[in-house]
Each structure stands twice: as structure tokens, then as C-alpha cells.
């Protein structure tokens, strides 16, 4: 071999050796850098995406012009209605500048707020809103975990775009999100705050024990295989349960019964696949647990004997422990891998404020992402930074709004459970959020006040704080006398701490019922019409109080609260723009009445079955009696035995709830309406 050839070989071998050494040394060096805080936390995730390195280096010095060109093109495409390319280009621009949080924020905003309103169907809008949401949640935040602005943008998307009323299709967003979350987590109990928190605790516990929260693994699979294997190894009963579920599902669908509600499974399908969609769907279809019964329109309706056996087995007490463990595991895993949410932190939020948080609400997710962002960015965010201030405010807004919309009832249609349009979504106020929101408001004021050198009385949030507390007082006042002590406490707090001026505050004794009444009436008449959430919360609270008094036979108080509800309704309707006008007042009355008879716990009241039946009998002559009977047939009759109606009333459903005379004519009218030609989409 000639000398040059020998040298060539030596150099090649040396090059390979150095390259290998570099590769081997890189990970330890990276780890040391991470431990020393010398690298961006997003590097951990970025390492798993080599294409980012290619994009950021491939164009060299031309990266900036390329980005500018792509930006112009993306804008042109949006103007021309070619939205298909806007996301593609947005993704590309973000990949070219992956460490620039503003770019992720801009493109997410562009998709969720700008492009979405240029589309016309609900599905298209939802697609673009979720495109924006996913860009931040799944891509931007993992690469920039310390960018508080991204958490704030994501939380604002949940709070305002999906949870607010600015978009005319906001109800569809709320329904879609509630539907998605309900399929995963079920509905929380309708009982106390502790019951709601305890119902979620198993998911958090499972996330703590059987979830690898390494950000590099997040989203790689729906369920982490190694953790799943450990779960089955720890709990043989769970393995047996899954195997039995697989066998029963294969059996139920094996005889040619193709039921569209459950996916066909094979005898030898891996258990990890059974643990995901088949488990949740079967559970949601047939379970009689409260988490499912609370939202299902009717009792489980197996189509044949095999499904009947499957339904009975799903509700078998003997397998309850294994089933619950498995459900908690799947929920924790999907929350982490699909929704990028940490169930332990979700529980921490509920416990921190002691709130009955319903994760089907968009604003609950706004609260989560704000809190999570502030938690992750603690130590790197400056108190006077605009992002910090706005994140704190959005967090507060989420909590505040739950006072007026904290309770959710979402019921998919019995005839078409997959169509969110046909589902029923009801949101109601929940006074249990008042104290946590007040505590958070005080915490925020303290954070902001000191650096600005303001006194508490003159803090920057003063006006908004007083207004919100006044709205709470009005809602509590409308909610009946048992809520008045808290209303008076709040009134006293305002007077003591802010000492506001105005005729309603003069000579006000916060402990006097008469002064409370005078204050509320003054604010109702003098402050102009309330915003929709505040108005509806007062109307519904007053109607609930009115009907509660009616069941006690106190017709005078019934009339008092009914009048109050009508007054608030009239004040709101007087100035509301056509787009935001409320439904007829009778509709609200009917809705509250129907819920009080069928599921009073959803209204926060406890009524025995005799009182509920008495309410129904009392309204048999009302114009809405046929609708009321239809509602009762849908929700009471299927659970007549299971819910103990038969034992308590000792009569049949038909005897207890007699059909109104015009019910058949009402059904015929409904049929004709369904058949009327549809002239508009």
C-alpha cells in the first residue's frame, strides 16, 4: 500500500473515531448542561425532532428572507381562501424559528381567531380553532416550556374563544369540548365539592404512580406500553378484566351484529388496544355509574342478548375495583399523551381552591393552562412583565366566570349521540366558586399592589373587583334566603375594605336584610342592564329559589323570587342587542322546573321524590305540560326502579306522572315540525 493510501486510511479511521466519540459524549454533556441550567428546557424535546435542526440550519443566512417570503405567502393564501396551505406554512415558519415563542403564538392566534371566522361550517371552524390550540399545546409549549406567553395564549383560547361568547358558534365549541372530555372522564358527581374532588382523585393517583412524565415521551403513544405492562403485573385482576372484556366484545360482535357504537375487536387483539377506545366506549354505553348516568338520556339499551350480558358484566360489583383502576389509568394516560395535561396538577388545582371543577368546561382548561404555566415558569417570570400580569388576570377571569357558569350538564342526543349539535348543553351558576375567586383576586392584588406602591383601597383592580362582588351579591340574593348571609358578608367586606361612594352605600348596614334588598334593587335599576352571564345567573337562581319555596307551600316567597327573576329578565332584555336576546322567560321557568323534577341535584337543591312529583302535578295544567311530561319520560321513567322511585312512591310511573290530555297532539305537532321543509342551512 502506498504512503498516501495509508495516510488516507488513517485519516478516515481517525475521522470515524472522533465522530463516534463526539456522539458518545454528546448525551452526557447535554445532561450536564441541563443539570447546570445552561440549556433551554425545550432542548429535551427538540432533540426528539431532528427535522428542527435541519430546518434551522439548512438555509443558513437566508433563513430570515425565507421566513419573510413564507409569511407573505401564508397571508396571501388566507386572503384568497386557500386555507389548506396556511397551516402548512404556519407549521413551516414555526419550525424555522422554533425558539421564538411569538411566532408560535402568532400562528396559533391566526388559525384559531382569524382563519376560523373565515370558514362557514361549524366543523370547519372547530377544525381551525383546534388547529390553533394544538399548535400551541402540542408543539409550541413543549419546545418553549418556559414561555409564559404561550400558556397565556392557550388559556385565552380556552377562556375567550371557546368559553366566551364572542364567536357566534361558541356553543358548538363548548359542546364539542364537553363531548370529548365527557367521553374520557365522564361527568363529575352532582354532590358536594369534596365528592367532586374525590371522584377525580383516582386519576391523579394513577398519574402519580403509573405515568412516566418525561416530556420526551409525551404524545408518542396513547398509552405508555411499559407502564401498562407494570399495571397488569401489579394487578392481575386488571389483566383478567381486560381479557374478559376482549372476549365479551368479540363475542358480542362475533355473531354478525355490527353495532356502530362499539368497534369490532379480535380475539387476539393486544390488551393495550382494548384498554383504550373499546373500554371507554363500552363503559360509556352500558355503565350505571354516576359518572355516566348523569349525562345519559336513557338507560342502557343493549340490542341483543350478548350485549345484554356485556352490559350486566360491565356493571358487576365483583369487577368494580379492576375496572376503576383501569379507567383511572387510561384517563391519566390519555390526559397526558393526548391533551398534554398532568392529572396530578389538575387535582392540585381543585384542592388548592377547593372547587368542584368540571373538566368539561372550556374555562376549566383555561384555568389549568394559566396555573400550569405560572407553576412551570415560576422563578423566570417578572412580576411586572405584561405576560405575567395578563396570565394572572386570565386565571382570575376563569375563576370568576365559574361563579356564573360553573355547572355543566351535557347530554348527547339519544337518537344521534355522535352529533354535538343535537346534544343538550346547560350551564348554570355555582356560588361555591365565589370564595376561591375572591381569594385569588386578593392574591393578585397583593402581588401587583406592592411593586406599584398602591394602597389596597386604591389598587388597580378596585372597580372591577367591586363590580364582580356586586354581581355575586345579586346572584346570592336571587338564590334565596339561605344564600343571604354570604351576600351580606361580601357586602360588608366591600364596605370595610373599599369604602365605596354612592347613594346605595350611604347609611348601608350590611347585616340588614332590608338594606341588602335595597342595595340589590338600586344596583339593578341604576347600573343599567347586566351582562348576559350575570343576568342569566340571577334569573335562574331566583327561579330555583322560587320553586323551592313553592315545594314548601310558601307561595308568597315563590311570587317574590319570581318577580325578581322577571325584573332582571326585563332589565336585560331592554338593552340587549338582538344577537344576545334571551329566550322567552317561560322557557327559563320551564327549564328550571323540569330539572328540579328530574335531577334537582344539578341545581344544587335536594328535593325528595314526593315533592318532585307534587311539583309535576301542580303544573299539569301549564301550557308547557306536554314538554314537561316528555322530559320526565326521558329522564325519570328509565330509572324508575334503579333510582328508588317505585319504593318511595309505591306506584307505577304512569300513575305517579299522568299524561297530560294534549300530549298526543303535542307529539303530532312535533312530527309536523320535523317534516317541515328546510329552506335554510
Amino acid at each position: 500500500m502506498s504512503r498516501p493510501r495509508v495516510l488516507q486510511v488513517i485519516f478516515v479511521v481517525a475521522a470515524v473515531g472522533f465522530a463516534t466519540a463526539a456522539v458518545m459524549l454528546r448525551r452526557p454533556l447535554d445532561r450536564i448542561s441541563e443539570e447546570s441550567g445552561l440549556t433551554s428546557p425545550g432542548n429535551v424535546v427538540a432533540e426528539e425532532h431532528p427535522q428542527l435542526a435541519v430546518w434551522t440550519t439548512a438555509f443558513g443566512g437566508l433563513r430570515a428572507p425565507v421566513v419573510a417570503g413564507l409569511w407573505i405567502r401564508a397571508d396571501q393564501h388566507v386572503q384568497a381562501g386557500r386555507f389548506y396551505d396556511a397551516k402548512q406554512l404556519g407549521d413551516l415558519i414555526c419550525q424555522l424559528q422554533p425558539r421564538f415563542p411569538g411566532v408560535w403564538g402568532y400562528h396559533s392566534w391566526n388559525m384559531a381567531w382569524n382563519i376560523s371566522v373565515k370558514t362557514k361550517t361549524r366543523e370547519q371552524r372547530w377544525l381551525w380553532v383546534t388547529n390553533g390550540m394544538r399548535l400551541l399545546r402540542d408543539r409550541g409549549i413543549p419546545l418553549n416550556p418556559r414561555a409564559l406567553g404561550l400558556y397565556k395564549d392557550l388559556a385565552w383560547l380556552f377562556y375567550s374563544k371557546m368559553g366566551g361568547h364572542t364567536d357566534e358558534m361558541h356553543r358548538y365549541y363548548k359542546k364539542r369540548w364537553a363531548d370529548e372530555m365527557q367521553r374520557l372522564l365522564g361527568a363529575p358527581p352532582m354532590g358536594t365539592t369534596d365528592e367532586v374532588i374525590d371522584a377525580f382523585r383516582p386519576v391523579a393517583t394513577m398519574a402519580d404512580r403509573r405515568l412516566d412524565r418525561d416530556p420526551r415521551r409525551q404524545g408518542r403513544s396513547l398509552i405508555q406500553g411499559d407502564e401498562f405492562a407494570r399495571l397488569l403485573a401489579d394487578r392481575p385482576a386488571t389483566r383478567a378484566y381486560l381479557a374478559e372484556l376482549r372476549r365479551r366484545l368479540a363475542d358480542a360482535l362475533g355473531a354478525g351484529v355490527v353495532h356502530p357504537r362499539v368497534r369490532r375487536v379480535a380475539d387476539d387483539e393486544p390488551l393495550i388496544d382494548i384498554a383504550d377506545e373499546p373500554l371507554l366506549r363500552t363503559y360509556n354505553l352500558f355503565s350505571r355509574d354516576e359518572a355516566v348516568r348523569n349525562w345519559r338520556f336513557a338507560a342502557p339499551d343493549p340490542v341483543d342478548e350478548r350485549e345484554q350480558r356485556l352490559a350486566e358484566w360491565i356493571n358487576d360489583d365483583a369487577t368494580r375495583e379492576a375496572r376503576n383502576a383501569l379507567l383511572a389509568f387510561v384517563r391519566a394516560q390519555k390526559l397526558w399523551n393526548v391533551y398534554k395535561m398532568d392529572a396530578t396538577f389538575m387535582l392540585r388545582i381543585m384542592e388548592k381552591w377547593h372547587i368542584p371543577l368540571d373538566w368539561r368546561m372550556c374555562r376549566a382548561h383555561g384555568l389549568y393552562w394559566n396555573s400550569y404555566g405560572m407553576n412551570v415558569c415560576e422563578g423566570v417570570m417578572a412580576l411586572d412583565d405584561l405576560n405575567t400580569v395578563n396570565t394572572g388576570r386570565t386565571l382570575l377571569f376563569c375563576l370568576r366566570d365559574m361563579v356564573f357558569y360553573g355547572k355543566v350538564m351535557y347530554r348527547p342526543s339519544a337518537s344521534d349521540p355522535l352529533d354535538p349539535d343535537k346534544a343538550q348543553l346547560i350551564r348554570r351558576g355555582d356560588w361555591r366558586f365565589i370564595k376561591p375567586a375572591q381569594a385569588q383576586q386578593l392574591e393578585l392584588i397583593e402581588k401587583i399592589r406592592e411593586p406599584r406602591g398602591e394602597s389596597f383601597k386604591e389598587n388597580i383592580y378596585r372597580a372591577g373587583h367591586i363590580n364582580w362582588l356586586t354581581d355575586c351579591i345579586k346572584m346570592l340574593y336571587a338564590g334565596g334566603r339561605r344564600r343571604w348571609p354570604l351576600a351580606k358578608d361580601l357586602l360588608a367586606w366591600i364596605k370595610d375594605n373599599y369604602d365605596p361612594k354612592g347613594p346605595e352605600w350611604e347609611r348601608l348596614d350590611p347585616r340588614s336584610n332590608d338594606d341588602l334588598r335595597r342595595f340589590v334593587r338600586y344596583r339593578l335599576t341604576q347600573n343599567g342592564s347586566p351582562i348576559i352571564s350575570v343576568a342569566v345567573s340571577q334569573i335562574e337562581a331566583a327561579l330555583i329559589a322560587a320553586l323551592e319555596h313553592l315545594t314548601d307551600g310558601n307561595t308568597g316567597q315563590h311570587a317574590f323570587f319570581l318577580n325578581h327573576a322577571q325584573r332582571v329578565y326585563g332589565l336585560y332584555q331592554r338593552d340587549a342587542p338582538p344577537r344576545l336576546k334571551l329566550a322567552p322567560f317561560a322557557r327559563y321557568y320551564y327549564e328550571v322546573l323540569a330539572h328540579m323534577i328530574a335531577h334537582p341535584a344539578s341545581l344544587g337543591t335536594q328535593l325528595d321524590k314526593k315533592a318532585r312529583r307534587a311539583l309535576y302535578v301542580g303544573f299539569r295544567g301549564a301550557p308547557f305540560a306536554p314538554q314537561l311530561y316528555q322530559h320526565v319520560r326521558l329522564f325519570v321513567e328509565p330509572n324508575w326502579q334503579a333510582d328508588g322511585w317505585r319504593d318511595e312512591l309505591e306506584v307505577s310511573f304512569k300513575t305517579a306522572f299522568r299524561k297530560p290530555p294534549d300530549y298526543d297532539a303535542f307529539l303530532e305537532q312535533q312530527r309536523r315540525q320535523r317534516e317541515a321543509p328546510a329552506t335554510a342551512e
Binding site: 397551516k87 373565515k118 329552506t679 335554510a680
Partner: protein, 586 residues
């Protein structure tokens, strides 16, 4: 031409041996493999296919453009530099044949690569078409907005078309000349009964009809007479079916053309088969799920039919048309016209029964609304229909997007017998709204995706032919680096010609600055010499499902691949003919 052919073959083999070509081929292969996997579009299947079509065709175009220029300049200039041209110069080969041969060789390579890459893109697009769509709307968009070739028909614009529409008022536009007319099966039944009763009359009708049919066939329009009981009609029908034309259109007696043929005053409806604007009907099998009322029934269809059904469209059930009111999971509800309720095809529908289902094609209204403070959309109503159509007008009342181009599907059934269709917008918002007159048009299916795709690649070939000519021209008198620079200066001009045309300052009346005149003159000259590559790029047309008409293909191929290309080659031949290849040194 044997000399040209020999040089071309030699050039082709030379190109294949060159590393430069290999690099571009590798880049092309990697691009075509990676792009379909990397591109996601907007999350919908239609968006993904559009993205793949846009980016893959654009990438092929750019890569091949650079390859063509580098190869041609490199080969011709390289022959001079390496003095290999001496070997050719001493042979009995005219110099023009050398130039043309070099050009043809590279064009052959381009054609082969375009065929391969076009085939790959087409296969990928068809593969993606089979993927699962996000939802039914997405599937319908794939079939009716991507895998089609649509043409646009502009309405007659009134003088006040560009004026804003005041709140609460309406404006109507009329599109005429839509040749498709609604099928009336009732008409067909009447016709059949009447013709059975009056054979003699029908024979006369057919005799009169035949020249019309023959004439129409030449226009690739009318194809069949569906006249029961008439020998001549059956003969025509058989021939038409043999030609594979199966689309049905009814011409009422009110149609002027036919009224002559059928004698005025006769209330006879003749059913003809015509090539329709709305495109082919999709036929398949379905089953009755439930009979909901005397006017409404629910059906279920297999994917091949269901994929084309959209809410608001018309489907034919046993030949009777009804409007689709609901659709989900291949199940759909159809509402029939009251006049059809008692017809046996509708009255006898029973649950579980199999029925033939025909999905009628649709047109699309393209529009853009704008107005102050309308970023969240404009509430209003679009109405479409024809006073002479038996079907009620379509009314879509909701909030429409503003500030962007949008489309609405209009059932072709709504087109009147004379081919007329009106569209009307009622402004239901509180502000003045303008409907952009340049955008307002009715899109109709004018061809298939495959033909459009081939025409698009034909345009790309014309572009490559010009670039090869440009490269040969540059190589004929410039060295390789300078030639490449020359072409690199031409390429951006060709790609951004439209943009430059907008940006270039036009000389105003009384302009005295000579620089402006010279600049403008130079630009005009360049416009003549260099083609507009924005027009020869098929990316946008393919992604938007817009037809590339033959007229445009012929015009562009004639201009770019013909005139401008010939001009460049002629200059190259002239220069090369006079060029001193070697200097005799004594």
C-alpha cells in the same frame, strides 16, 4: 433529421452520465418520497391532497428548471471549453443541427423525468384519495373540489354591480348559457306514455330530432334520445351507450331549439342525454332505512355513492329526485317534491328495500363579500334557482365569511330549462356589503382530474422546452458560469413576471424621463421574449380543481414551447453558425 436525432440521443446519454443530472434526479426522488409524508395541509384530507399537489408540482418544476438550464448551458459551453466540438465540427453536420440536437436531447430527458415524476405525483394523489377523510364534508370536498377540473361562468354584471348592497336589500345576478337542464322524470314518464300512444307523431319527432342530435354530438354535447317505443330512438340510444355517455338531461318543449323540432304547441317533454356542466352522475345501490312520511324517507348507501352526497344536493331515488336534508354515516334523509309524493317510485318505498341511487352533480357559486367591520362574517341569504325550474330555489341563510373567497354548492337541478340560473344575495347585516364582481362566478365541472393533470404537465414541458432553448442560446456564445448567470437572471423574471408587471412604472402621458421609457421598452421586450412561468405552472389549478382548458394549453405551448422557444433556438443557431470555434495559429 438523422443528424439532429443522433445528437439528441448522444446528448441524452451524456446527460444521464453526468453527475449534475444524477444529483437532480436524487433530489427529485427524495422530494417526491418525503413531501407526501411531511405535508399535512390543514388537517383535512382535501387540504393534504391540495398541499401535496401544490408543493410536489412546484418542486418538480423548480428542480427540473434548474437542471435543464445547467445541463444545456453546461453541455454546449462545455463542448467549446473542452474542445470536443471540434470532433463534431469536422463531421458533415450542419451547425444548426448540432444546436437543435442538443436542445432536443435535454428536452427528451425533461419529458421522461416529467412523465416519471408526474406519474409518481398522480399515484400519490390517488393513493391519498383512498385515505380516510376527516368527515363527510371533507370527503365531498375531495371528490367535488379536488379531483375535478372546474370551469367558471361569469354572470351578467349590472352597472351597479360594484356598488355596496345596503342593509336589508338584495341584488340578483343571472348566469345564462348553462347548458345543463334539470331532469324531470315526471316529464319522461309523460313522454313515454304519450309517445306510446302516438307512434306516428313520435316517429316524426325523431326524424326531426336526429339532425339536432347529430349536430350536438359533434359538439360533444347531446348524445342520446330516450324515446321508448321508437326504433330510431333506440338506435341512437344504443350508439350513445356504446360511446359511454350516460347522462340525462330533460329539455322541455319550451326550449327554443327543440320547440322547432317538436312543433310548437305540443306539450311533450323530450329526454335527451347530454354532456353536462355539472359533471357525471354517480350511480349505485342503496337501501330504504325508514319511511318517515309521505314526502320523506331515510336511505343508506355504500361508500362509493355516499362519498358524493352532500346536504342540500339532489339525489335520484328510482329516478325521482329529492333533496338531501340530513346525512350521517352513509345514512341520509331525502325530501321529495309534493308533486312526486303519490308516484309509485316514491309511494311504494318500503323499509329494507334496495333502490338505485343517483347522485346529481352540483355547481358551485364562488364569491367574496366585503364591508367595513365584517371581519367576523356577514349575515345574509344567498338564493339560487330559476323561475322556470320545477325545483324550489335554494336559500342559504346564515353568516357568510367576508374578506376571503368562498364557495357554495348549488344543485344543478336548479338550472332552468333554458340554461338560466340566478343567484341573489340579501344583506342581512347592519352594514353595507359589497360582492366582488371579479370573483363572482359559477363553477361547473368541465372535465376530469386526469386530463387536467396531463394538460398541466404538458404546460410544464413547454416551460422546460423554453428553458432548454434558453440554455442552448446562452451556451452558444457564453462560457458556462456566465451562461448560468444569464439564465439565472432570466428565471426570476419569468417566475415573477406578473408581479413585476404590476410593479413597473408605466410612462404617463407627457413623460419625458428617458430612463422610464427605456425601462418600459426593455420590460416590454422581455415580455415578448420571456414567457410567464406563473401561467405555465399547474400547481394552483390542480390544487383548486380549476380546469386548464385546451385553448390555454395550445396558446401557452404555442407561445412558450413554440414561438419563444424557436426564437431562442434561432438566435442560438445564428450565433453558433458565425462563431469561430478555433483560431488558426501559424
Amino acid at each position: 433529421m438523422s443528424g439532429v436525432w443522433a445528437v439528441a440521443r448522444y446528448t441524452l446519454s451524456q446527460c444521464l452520465r453526468m453527475k449534475l443530472a444524477a444529483v437532480f434526479l436524487a433530489a427529485l426522488a427524495v422530494t417526491l418520497l418525503v413531501l407526501p409524508l411531511a405535508l399535512e395541509g390543514d388537517g383535512t384530507l382535501a387540504g393534504r391532497i391540495r398541499s401535496v399537489l401544490t408543493y410536489s408540482t412546484a418542486t418538480v418544476s423548480v428542480l427540473l428548471s434548474f437542471m435543464t438550464v445547467l445541463l444545456t448551458v453546461g453541455i454546449v459551453a462545455g463542448d467549446m471549453q473542452a474542445r470536443t466540438v471540434f470532433l463534431l465540427a469536422v463531421k458533415p453536420l450542419p451547425r444548426w443541427k448540432y444546436i437543435v440536437g442538443r436542445w432536443a436531447g435535454v428536452v427528451l430527458l425533461d419529458a421522461a423525468l416529467l412523465a416519471i415524476s408526474g406519474g409518481a405525483i398522480y399515484a400519490v394523489a390517488q393513493h391519498l384519495r383512498e385515505e380516510e377523510a376527516l368527515n363527510h364534508t371533507d370527503r365531498v370536498a375531495v371528490e367535488t373540489e379536488v379531483f375535478v377540473a372546474r370551469s367558471a361562468m361569469r354572470p351578467r354584471l349590472r352597472k351597479d354591480a360594484s356598488e355596496p348592497i345596503a342593509p336589508g336589500t338584495s341584488r340578483r345576478w343571472t348566469v345564462s348559457g348553462v347548458r345543463a337542464s334539470p331532469v324531470s322524470v315526471e316529464g319522461r314518464a309523460r313522454l313515454q306514455a304519450r309517445l306510446t300512444e302516438h307512434h306516428a307523431f313520435v316517429r316524426g319527432v325523431s326524424a326531426n330530432l336526429r339532425p339536432l342530435l347529430e349536430n350536438a354530438r359533434r359538439r360533444d354535447a347531446i348524445a342520446e334520445a330516450w324515446i321508448t317505443g321508437d326504433e330510431r330512438g333506440r338506435g341512437i340510444r344504443a350508439r350513445v351507450e356504446a360511446e359511454g355517455r350516460r347522462l340525462v338531461v330533460v329539455y322541455r318543449a319550451g326550449n327554443e331549439q327543440l320547440a322547432e323540432a317538436l312543433r310548437p304547441g305540443q306539450s311533450v317533454t323530450v329526454v335527451l342525454v347530454e354532456h353536462r356542466h355539472g359533471g357525471p352522475q354517480t350511480r349505485g345501490e342503496g337501501a330504504v332505512v325508514a319511511r318517515e312520511s309521505h314526502l320523506r324517507a331515510a336511505f343508506e348507501a355504500l361508500d362509493d355513492v355516499a362519498d358524493h352526497i352532500a346536504v342540500g344536493e339532489y339525489v335520484g331515488i328510482r329516478g325521482v329526485d329529492g333533496r338531501v336534508e340530513h346525512f350521517r354515516d352513509n345514512r341520509f334523509t331525502v325530501r321529495f317534491l309534493p308533486r312526486d309524493a303519490h308516484r309509485p317510485q316514491v309511494a311504494d318505498l318500503t323499509a329494507g328495500e334496495d333502490v338505485p341511487v343517483t347522485v346529481r352533480p352540483s355547481l358551485q357559486l364562488r364569491y367574496e363579500l366585503s364591508g367595513r367591520g365584517t371581519s367576523g362574517g356577514v349575515f345574509g341569504q344567498w338564493t339560487a334557482g330559476s323561475a322556470r325550474s320545477p325545483y324550489p330555489p335554494l336559500r342559504i341563510r346564515r353568516r357568510f365569511p367576508a374578506g376571503t373567497i368562498d364557495t357554495l354548492a348549488i344543485p344543478e337541478r336548479l338550472v332552468g330549462p333554458g340554461g338560466d340560473l340566478f343567484v341573489e344575495f340579501t344583506n342581512g347585516s347592519g352594514v353595507n356589503v359589497t360582492v366582488d364582481e371579479d370573483t363572482l362566478s359559477v363553477l361547473y365541472r368541465a372535465g376530469g382530474f386526469t386530463g387536467n393533470f396531463l394538460r398541466g404537465f404538458g404546460l410544464m414541458l413547454a416551460q422546460m422546452m423554453f428553458l432548454a432553448a434558453l440554455g442552448v442560446f446562452a451556451g452558444s456564445f457564453l462560457s458556462f458560469p456566465v451562461g448560468c448567470l444569464f439564465c439565472a437572471a432570466m428565471l426570476p423574471f419569468a417566475m415573477m413576471r406578473s408581479f413585476i408587471a404590476d410593479a413597473v412604472k408605466l410612462p404617463r402621458h407627457g413623460e419625458t424621463d428617458p430612463v422610464v421609457w427605456i425601462g418600459h421598452g426593455a420590460f416590454r421586450l422581455m415580455q415578448i421574449l420571456v414567457p410567464d412561468f406563473a401561467r405555465t405552472s399547474p400547481s394552483d389549478a390542480l390544487a383548486a380543481g380549476r380546469i386548464i382548458p385546451w385553448r390555454e394549453v395550445i396558446e401557452l405551448v404555442g407561445l412558450t414551447g413554440g414561438l419563444q422557444c424557436v426564437l431562442a433556438i434561432t438566435f442560438a443557431c445564428l450565433i453558433f453558425r458565425k462563431r469561430e470555434l478555433a483560431r488558426v495559429q501559424v
